[in-house]
Structure formats: structure tokens, C-alpha cells
């Protein structure tokens, strides 16, 4: 089944953590097609302000019920308008887009996931699917390293109870769990526990993902990262969402991958981290406007 465009009906749209909203949608076509790690391009408002769609990952996919959930941080005007949408109104989505995560093929793999802030969004459905696939075997629990700037930006612990995951919390300001970056927690805890994941998944700010990538590459642990880029089309047509990548032929020639089509899930080794500019994504909205 391919991609489609769908007018999804809003079932719920609520703030679940600071500046973080959960939107539940009746979107049967996309729910039937979507896989964990894929995303949709959401038209946040009618008219031409804003003009472009916004990419949002599928946080939950309830294929049976024909529903999906989006978890999003209010980062600018697009997501702000989305947060103002009322239940029963319609939101147009194209999807499912992108490659999605590759599910671990060893059912008893030692799995770790690293989520920074809103980076939890795409990882959640993945954890649910892995939990389901392992419900019949006696595998070790998955370990989720989940950090945010502050306690109020974290999803509540209760939401993880349905999954086969033990959560390790961190906050930059120390207001909850480990005090420091989630990558520091990853490093410390795995060292202390002598835990070596055989599969790693991560999503979060670019700097965080870079650190996860370096940590994993140094240990030769395969890692799937969910990366971001500015997008116009989401379907590989505009070539706007390029990220500098290692040339597939192994040459040193310039090469780009496209997040919407080749990703958003990439292996750590495929990205040319050195060539990613600091200021890749837009700054926060201007507080005076």
C-alpha cells in the first residue's frame, strides 16, 4: 500500500507535558499503512498561513481502530496553530512517509533507546511493537534513556507501563532523575550495569543524536537514528531536506541523502556529521512578536 492524502478527524488534542501536545486522529487510511518511525506531513491550518505542511512522526498507530496519535512540541507558529485545533475538526495529512525503523530481527536482542525531549515521539510506537513481538519469549527488558530539559517536559511514567521497557530518566536541570544530559546517563548507566546493547535507537536534538552516534560507533553498536531536516514536500520531490552523507561509492565526493525519502531513519555511520552546519534548523520564535 502506498502513500495517501487523508482528512483526519481530531478525536483529542491536549497538552500532556509542558508545550507538548498529544493529538489523536481518526485517520483509517494512514493508520492501516503506517509503520513505526514513519511520519506524516500535516497541514496545520486552512489557507496559506503557514504555507507548508509540517512533518510529524507517528507516535501511536492503532491500525485496528483506524486511529493515529501525534505527539508534538509547540516550536513555532505551525505547531501552535495545531495546538488550537478543536476536536471534530479535520486536519489534512499526507503519509505514511519515509522508511521507518527496521525492527530488530533477533527477538532477544539487548535493546536500548535514547529519547531527548520530543524525540520520544517516534520511539514510542517502536517500543510497543517490539514489546508485542517479544511478549511470547523471555527476552531482557528494553532500556529507554529518556531525558528532557526539565521534569515538566517529560511524559508521565504511567504511559510506559503498557510496554516492556524500563525507563531511565534524566533532566538537564536535575529536576527529575539523573541530572545532566541523557547521553551522559546512557554512558554512565551502561558502564555501571555492564550493559551492552546489541541494537540502539535514538531520536532527539541533533547534538544529542550526534553523541549517541559517536558512542555507538565507538562500540560498534548498530544504531538507528531518527533525523530531522526542513521539508517542503515530504515525498522526495523538492530535494529540500538534504543532509550531508557518506558517499555510497566510498569516495570523498559531496553526497546528500534526503531525510523524507532515504530517512528519517539513518544508521549513524551514513551521515557526514562534520558537514552538518550548526544552525541547521530554525531558531525559536521571536518572543516579541
Amino acid at each position: 500500500m502506498g502513500k495517501m492524502q487523508e482528512d483526519a478527524r481530531i478525536i483529542r488534542n491536549e497538552e500532556v507535558a509542558r508545550m507538548t501536545w498529544l493529538m489523536r486522529l481518526h485517520s483509517p487510511g494512514i493508520a492501516a499503512r503506517a509503520r513505526p518511525g514513519q511520519f506524516g506531513m500535516v497541514r496545520v491550518r486552512e489557507g496559506i498561513d503557514p504555507l507548508l505542511r509540517r512533518p510529524l512522526s507517528f507516535h501511536r498507530i492503532h491500525s485496528g481502530k483506524g486511529e493515529i496519535e501525534l505527539l508534538y512540541r509547540v516550536a513555532g507558529k505551525g505547531t501552535w496553530w495545531l495546538s488550537r485545533c478543536q476536536p471534530d475538526s479535520l486536519v489534512n495529512i499526507t503519509g505514511p512517509l519515509g522508511n521507518g525503523f527496521t525492527m530488530p530481527d533477533n527477538p532477544s536482542a539487548a535493546i536500548a533507546l535514547v529519547a531527548g525531549g520530543i524525540g520520544i515521539a517516534p520511539l514510542f510506537e517502536l517500543m510497543v511493537r517490539i514489546s508485542e513481538s517479544r511478549s511470547k519469549i523471555k527476552a531482557e527488558k528494553m532500556h529507554l534513556f529518556y531525558g528532557a530539559r526539565s521534569a515538566d517536559e517529560l511524559l508521565p511514567a504511567a504511559v510506559f507501563e503498557s510496554t516492556d521497557v524500563s525507563v531511565h530518566w534524566s533532566t538537564d536541570d536535575g529536576s527529575f532523575g539523573f541530572s545532566g544530559y541523557v547521553t551522559e546517563l546512557l554512558e554512565e548507566w551502561t558502564a555501571r550495569a555492564g550493559f551492552r546493547p546489541t541494537e540502539l535507537f535514538a531520536c532527539g536534538p541533533l547534538a544529542m543524536q550526534h553523541n549517541v552516534a559517536r558512542w555507538a560507533l565507538a562500540r560498534d553498536i548498530p544504531v538507528q537514528l531518527s533525523l530531522e531536516s526542513l521539508m517542503a514536500c515530504g515525498i522526495g520531490a523538492c530535494l529540500g531536506c538534504a543532509l550531508p552523507a557518506v558517499h555510497p561509492g566510498g569516495s570523498s565526493a559531496e553526497h546528500y541523502v534526503h531525510v523524507c525519502k532515504d530517512g528519517p531513519i539513518f544508521s549513524a555511520g551514513s551521515i557526514q556529521w562534520r558537514k552538518i552546519r550548526k544552525q541547521q534548523l530554525p531558531s525559536p520564535i521571536f518572543p516579541c512578536d
Binding site: 502506498g2 503557514p50 538534504a242 543532509l243 558537514k275 531558531s283
Partner: protein, 332 residues
Amino acid sequence: MAQNPQATAAVPDLSVRLGPLRLKNPVMTASGTFGYGEEFADFLDLGCLGAVVVKGISLLPRPGNPPPRIVETPAGMINAIGLENVGVEVFLASRLPGLRERGVPVIVNIFGNTVEEYAELASRLDGAAGIEALEINISCPNVKQGGMIFGTDPAMAAKVVEAVRLSTGLPLITKLTPNVTRIGEIARAVVDAGSDILSCINTVAAMAVDIFSRRPKLANVMGGLSGPAIRPVALRCTYEVVRSVNVPVIGIGGITGAADALEFLLVGARAVQVGTANFINPATAVEILEGIERFLQVQGLAGIEEFIGTLDTGCLFPFAEESCEWIDLKQP
């Protein structure tokens, strides 16, 4: 065909003729906004379209510009993709065949750094089956002339078109840039050089910066503005070009719906291309087709030819001769 007037009203004739090119309808997709067509196959029936203009092709593959390559602006977007493309060989071997199977006429957008590159590219495409026309993108800097853009100088633009004309028998469309003082002058020059058709406009030179990081929002600093924001500029350019030459013109710029497309046809464009709108609604092009059909029915017109170029400017501005405006109102 139109023997029974009621039957005519029911199914208006959308076919248009653009010089050597015949299209079943006037709605195409613009270069660089529709990939190689395939990307949109899930959203619309490619076979319905008048034509697909593929992403600009060069002799050799090009990686494109470093990111960020795009930025959203009021009712528009700026892009600086850097003409990333697979190169003519890969295009012919692995993109064109799939597109041909979809049953849609293919127009290939070409560009080079030198006149010679344009010519060589054209002769490579000349032999290939399944190409309806070439669209010459003359908005590239002429590397031999120190980066001066081909499309901003009538003599240089003409040289490119002449060279391409000698290299192929395919219908030639020349795509004009709006970033010039007198677009009609460039239009006349490339028509004299052998262009069968003109298309306009390419993007408007633009820029955006981030006041926090104090950096340009595009790695390339400048880029091209597209989308609804530029529609009034594109319509003006199209009207100027239509009045400057006697060859068919294709209108491009900010078209998002049937009403927009009809504005370009009204001022005399014989076809349109849909660009940025494909990103916002991937089914835009077919929805425009349906909208045009309904419009013709409601207006009781038998075909689109009855509407094209019927703008009525008579008696509209009795005082215009004495008028002094702060923008260029006079024709070149």
C-alpha cells in the same frame, strides 16, 4: 467534435496547441517541484496531466547545495537546491522509462554552465524516445563570462537558444527569469533565436536571515522565491511576454487552484505549470484540471480556447496616459 452543443457543454474541450506541441490539456507540473513524476503517482493519475516537466537535468550528476536549502516565507518559500540531479545518463536509463509507462508527456528541463554544455545536453536528449519537448533553463550563471546569468542578458540568452536549436529537432521552450528590467526584451531575443515556446516565470531572487544566529537561513545565502506570494508578479510577467512575442507562452508562478490557473490563461498563456502547490496538496494539478472543466461548463464555453487570451482591457483606464506610477507600468 462539437456537433451537439449540449454535449459540448458537458465535456469542454481542454486540448491546447502550443506551436509544435499539442497537449490534451493545459495543466503541467513545474520543473523541480514534481521530481521525476513517480513521487506523485500515489496521489494522482499522472496520465491525466497535460505534461510533466522533470527536475532540471545537467550533463553530469550534481550533488546540489549544502543544507539548509529551503525556508518558508509569507505565502511562499525560498529554495536553493543547487540543481541537484542525477545527470542525463542516469535520467535516460532509469528515470525516463518509468515515467513514459505512466502515459504522460514528458518535457525535460535542461541547464548548463556554458553554451556548449547546453548544446551537448540537447543533442543527447534529441535521440531519446518519449521526450515531447525541452525546456531550457537560462537562469544559470555563465561560467565563461564570470557568472553573469544567461537569462538576464538578451544576447547571451539568444546564444544558448541558438546552440540548442542547432542540436535538436524537439520543440523548444525557453524558461524566463523575472529578475530582469525588461522581460519582453529577453523574450523577443530567444524567440528570434529559435525558441518555439516561452515559459515564465522561474523563481524571484530572494533571501532570509535568522536574527538570533545572525546567519542566512539558506547555506547558499540567496535563493529563489516561489508560491502564492509571487503570483501577481508572475501574472504581470506573463502578460508582458504574451504582448511581446508571437509564440505560445506557458504561465508559471504561485498557481494553487483552478481560479489561479485561469488568470494566467485569461491574460494569454496557452498552458500553465504548477510548482510549489504540489508540495502543499500533491493532487493540486488534477484538481485544477477538474476546476477548469467545471468553470468552462458553468460559463457555457465549449473549450478552453474560447477563454485563452480574452482579457478585456478596453476603456478601462481613460487616464492612464497622463498617469505617473512608481512602478514600471509601461511596456518595454
